[in-house]
Subunit: 316 residues, 2 copies
């Protein structure tokens, strides 16, 4: 752990991501405990030695007493209910979340008048598995962890959230909520929709086609093995940005299809795709070293740096 | 090797697939040699101890002398040229290919009047890498290897081709050329086009989006790292079937997009994709044990069995 003050962390929801935050926080020296709605999940976590209860009032009262950083780790559809409990039992705690969209959470937080202590977060890690049993203290090692820099964000909770992300082994990507949502629509939600599409269009070829399927189909449909409710909870709250990304994908595919039909070639798509995959493969994150939380215009400067691919690897 | 008669194999083209056939054939006891157009590729193979020349006349004359099974392992655009050499120097040899489409090769073979000895083939294996240096004797282990059963196919060359596939560690999927091409359009060529689309639509989010990209984007774009000329050579000769698969994918995506725009949900796609990925994951190949090459109606019976997901694991 990189700091010893405010080292209490309260995780709400011990699924894959929340469970991994709990494990990683404990592993790096935080005092961390959690709430989970289902008794089965809570018992599984307790059996592994973690402090997890099913009484949200008790869990949040403890957070208020210890000035804990609260980490919302429930799916988007459950956010309003949980925020209402936070407002009742721990309204002055620093608050972050690990939900896959940021604008809807930001809005929900402000509806509950919890905005003063809130900093949005999103660790870019996951597996096709879900639930406590898939969680791991190492899930975030080397991952990007988006941390919100929207106007009005305060330096003290921001530093706590960024520190937790770094302590979990991630690098911090500072980002505005709306820009985050447009970005993840393209690199996380669109991949899900394309994987589902490939699974359906592929299987339409019957057992012969599925029996001939090799690496390209297996990898291209991997995330279609994610539980459908989870996929919907991830993608649908980002409808506007995802619609835009789908429009782009449809234009590219239609153009390739039309070109294939008219002149037997896939047109520009293949060179463009190769070149952009190469850009991804060779992308080098650069380190933001000259902006400290609380500096003049720190939020605007961090947002601009994040937009250009900058990351924070330390707060010292 | 499962038989000792007709154990000579002549591979034309020592890229990823041809090179792997050469390596696997030698490893399992065949007398095998090869031709490669580029001297660089031939020298790399010779440096690894393989018998590879750049004089196609000499290589094919030797094939004729030893009654070798010729394996065409060049990209579709080079097939006509190589077939014309086969017709000149080794017109009576058993002939197969490892090209990713079967109807266009079948037609080219018949244009050269080489159909009497021809059996189409397609091992379903590959990597994003290409060339001799990516080849491996183990590439086909556990893979499906499509072997053609179109009307007119003769039992003797069919058995030799199926035996080579089995000796390389693959299972044999008997299939008609047109059915093969429709199937691979869905589970091999469509994945390529969707991967290229995702790479372009994802990178349109800029360095911020690419920096946030994690497993779903990485896996969904993996095959976009394949050399563009190779992707075109694989996909474009299958234009008709690929257009049909793209039409299906476009319908699914448009429906999801329209649903997202009108009611904020992805509609039926997510459940359908999950269910079809599960069907793929749980697909069990069953063994064809009661049909021998040369039996009455063996071609029709093998085609029907392959269509229902049957495979051959032995010829004995």
């Amino acid at each position: 752990m990189t700091g010893d003050r405010n080292s209490a962390v309260c995780v709400l929801g011990t699924g894959l991501i929340g469970g991994s935050v709990l494990r990683a926080a404990v592993a790096t020296g935080y005092r961390a405990w959690a709430y989970n709605r289902s008794d089965v999940g809570a018992r599984a976590a307790r059996a592994d030695g973690f402090d997890v209860g099913t009484d949200i009032a008790a869990v949040l009262t403890r957070a208020a007493e210890h000035d804990a950083l609260i980490v919302l780790s429930v799916p988007m559809p459950a956010i309003d209910t949980v925020l209402s409990d936070v407002r009742t039992f721990a309204p002055d705690c620093a608050l972050t979340d690990v939900v896959s969209v940021k604008k809807p959470v930001h809005e929900a937080v402000h509806r509950q008048e919890l905005g003063a202590h809130y900093v949005g977060g999103h660790p870019m890690a996951g597996t096709a598995e879900s639930g406590w049993n898939a969680s791991s203290a190492d899930l975030f090692r080397g991952a990007a962890w988006a941390v919100g820099v929207d106007p009005g964000t305060r330096a003290e909770p921001w530093t706590r959230v960024a520190r937790l992300a770094l302590d979990c082994g991630a690098v911090v990507v500072p980002v505005l909520a709306a820009e985050h949502d447009r970005a993840v629509a393209r690199i996380s939600h669109l991949p899900h929709v394309l994987a589902e599409t490939l699974a359906v269009a592929g299987a339409a070829g019957g057992d012969l086609a599925l029996g001939l399927a090799a690496g390209s189909f297996r990898d291209g449909t991997r995330v279609a093995a994610t539980a459908p409710d989870l996929v919907r909870a991830i993608c649908e709250p980002n409808a506007a940005a995802l619609t835009e990304a789908l429009d782009d994908a449809l234009r590219l595919l239609e153009s390739a299809r039309d070109s294939l039909r008219s002149d037997g070639t896939l047109g520009e798509l293949i060179d463009a795709g190769y070149s952009e995959r190469d850009r991804y493969d060779t992308l080098r994150r650069w380190d933001i070293t000259d902006i400290r939380p609380g500096d003049e215009n720190w939020l605007e400067r961090l947002a601009a740096a994040g937009q250009r691919g900058g990351v924070l690897r330390t707060l010292d």
